[in-house]
C-alpha cells in the first residue's frame, strides 16, 4: 500500500467503509499506530460520520426539551395572572372571574389530591429542603468486597426504594460499620421510612465518630422537621449556620422561613 497526501482520504474512506483487503487492512492499521497525524485524520473522518448520523436524534430531543420548557414557562407565567384577577376590590369581567374560579377549584383539587397528603406526611419545609444526593460507593471504592451487595444497595437507595435498601445497608454495615456514606444513608433511609427514633440514633452514632463534615446534622434537623419538632430542628440548623458547616446557607434560608 502506497499511502501519500494525495490518496490518504481515499484510503481512509476504504478503511471506514470496510472495503479493504485483509492484507491492506493490516498495513493501514500499522500506519495508524505509527502516524499520529493520520490517526487524527481518521478520528475526525469517523466522528464526522458519527456526528451526522446522530444529528437527527439530537435535534429531535432538543426540540422536545425546548417545547417542554416553553410549555412549563408559559404555565408558570399564566398562573400569577389568573390569581391576580381574583381581587375582590378590582372590577373583573365575568369571564375572567369564571377562569379564576376554575383555576382556584383546580388548584384546590390538586392541593387536596396531591400536595396535601404529601405535606401531611412529610411536612412542608422538610419536603422543600431535604434534597437527598445519590449514594456513590462504586467510584470511591466500596469498603465491602461483595460487589453485588454494593451495587444492589446503591441502586435501591438511589431509586429511593428505602424498604429494599435498608436490609442491604444493614448487611453492608455489618462488614464495614464505620463507612460514613452508608451510615448517613442508613439515617436518611430510616427517616424516609418514618422510623424517627432509629434515624436519630443513626445520626447520633455518626456524631460519636466525630466526622469532619456535619452532613449528618443537616439530615438530623430534617428528621426533626419531618416530625414538626421545629425547636429541635432550629437548634441544629443554628449550629450549622454558626459553624459555617455543611449546607449552612440552606440552613440560614430555612431558619428564615420560621421567623
Amino acid at each position: 500500500m502506497n499511502l501519500n497526501e494525495n490518496n490518504k482520504y481515499e484510503i481512509l474512506d476504504n478503511y471506514l467503509s470496510g472495503g479493504m483487503s485483509a492484507e491492506d487492512l493490516d498495513k493501514f492499521r500499522a500506519f495508524l499506530q505509527s502516524d499520529a497525524d493520520l490517526a487524527m485524520d481518521h478520528q475526525i473522518v469517523a466522528e464526522m460520520k458519527e456526528a451526522k448520523e446522530f444529528a437527527p436524534l439530537e435535534s429531535d430531543l432538543r426540540a422536545t426539551l425546548a417545547s417542554i420548557k416553553s410549555d412549563t414557562s408559559a404555565t408558570i407565567e399564566t398562573s400569577p395572572q389568573l390569581t391576580a384577577t381574583h381581587n375582590p376590590t378590582s372590577k373583573t369581567s365575568s369571564t375572567r372571574f369564571l377562569y379564576t374560579a376554575i383555576a382556584m377549584a383546580a388548584s384546590l383539587l390538586l392541593l387536596v389530591g396531591v400536595f396535601l397528603p404529601n405535606m401531611l406526611e412529610t411536612g412542608g419545609s422538610y419536603d422543600q429542603y431535604a434534597m437527598i444526593e445519590p449514594l456513590d460507593l462504586t467510584t470511591k471504592g466500596a469498603a465491602v468486597n461483595d460487589l453485588t451487595l454494593t451495587k444492589n444497595l446503591q441502586e435501591a437507595y438511589n431509586a429511593q426504594d428505602y424498604n429494599q435498601a435498608l436490609p442491604q445497608i444493614e448487611a453492608y454495615l455489618a462488614v464495614a460499620p464505620k463507612d460514613m456514606d452508608v451510615l448517613l444513608a442508613k439515617g436518611i433511609t430510616l427517616m424516609e421510612l418514618n422510623k424517627f427514633e432509629e434515624a436519630h440514633a443513626a445520626f447520633d452514632y455518626i456524631k460519636s465518630l466525630n466526622p469532619r463534615v456535619k452532613k449528618y446534622q443537616w439530615f438530623d434537623a430534617q428528621c426533626f422537621l419531618k416530625q414538626d419538632k421545629i425547636a429541635e430542628a432550629k437548634s441544629l440548623l443554628k449550629d450549622l449556620v454558626a459553624t459555617k458547616a455543611y449546607n449552612h446557607k440552606q440552613a440560614q434560608e430555612l431558619l428564615a422561613t420560621f421567623e
Partner: protein, 185 residues
C-alpha cells in the same frame, strides 16, 4: 432500539411524555445539586439538556448498558458537564465532592468532549465554500457519487470523488488548526 430503563427508552424514542417526566422529576434536583456548586438555574437547564444529549448519544450504541440508576447516571454526567462549563465560563475550577458517581468517569469525560467535537465539526462545515457544503450534505445523505456529480455539475463520478477528497482535506485542516479542537482531545 428498545431499552429496559423507561427513561432511556423515552430518550431513544423521543417520547414526549417520558421526556417530560424526566424534566419534572430530575431538573429540580439537578438545580439543587448544581446550585450548591455555584450554578444558576439557567445554567442548570443548559447542563441538564446537554447531559441528556450525552446519555442519548451513549444509549444509542448497541453495547450500551446502564450500570447504575438513571438518576445516578444523569447526576454524574451533569456534574462533569458543570465542572467543564465553570472552567470555561468563570475561569475557575469547581470542587466536586466524589466527582461523579460512576466507575467509568473517563468514559463520561470522553463522551462530553466528543459531543463538543461534534459541534465544532458542524461549525467548521459551515465555514466551507457552498459547493463543499452541498457535497457533504449529499454525501452524508448517502447520495451516490454519480448523482452528486450531476447535482454539482461535475463531468464524471471520479470528478465528484476527487472534489470530495479536496473538500475533506480543507475541512480537516480547518478543524486541526482550531485551538479549541486541541482542547477537546
Amino acid at each position: 432500539m428498545k431499552h429496559s430503563d423507561p427513561y432511556i427508552n423515552a430518550l431513544l424514542t423521543n417520547d414526549q411524555r417520558g421526556v417530560k417526566e424526566i424534566y419534572d422529576t430530575y431538573l429540580p434536583r439537578l438545580e439543587a445539586i448544581l446550585g450548591k456548586m455555584g450554578c444558576s438555574k439557567d445554567e442548570a437547564w443548559e447542563v441538564f439538556q446537554e447531559s441528556l444529549i450525552v446519555i442519548l448519544n451513549k444509549a444509542q450504541k448497541p453495547d450500551f448498558q446502564l450500570s447504575s440508576s438513571f438518576y445516578t447516571f444523569l447526576v454524574s454526567i451533569a456534574k462533569f458537564k458543570w465542572f467543564n462549563e465553570s472552567k470555561k465560563k468563570h475561569k475557575k475550577n469547581v470542587t466536586i465532592d466524589a466527582i461523579g458517581t460512576l466507575s467509568d468517569t473517563d468514559d463520561i469525560m470522553e463522551s462530553l468532549l466528543k459531543l463538543e467535537r461534534f459541534q465544532l465539526y458542524q461549525q467548521k462545515l459551515k465555514e466551507l465554500d457552498p459547493i463543499c457544503q452541498k457535497l457533504f450534505e449529499l454525501f452524508f445523505d448517502k447520495v451516490s457519487l454519480r448523482d452528486i456529480a450531476v447535482e454539482l455539475g461535475l463531468n464524471t463520478e471520479n470528478a465528484a470523488k476527487q472534489k470530495k477528497y479536496k473538500c475533506q482535506k480543507k475541512l480537516i485542516e480547518k478543524i486541526k488548526k482550531d485551538v479549541i479542537f486541541k482542547q477537546l482531545l
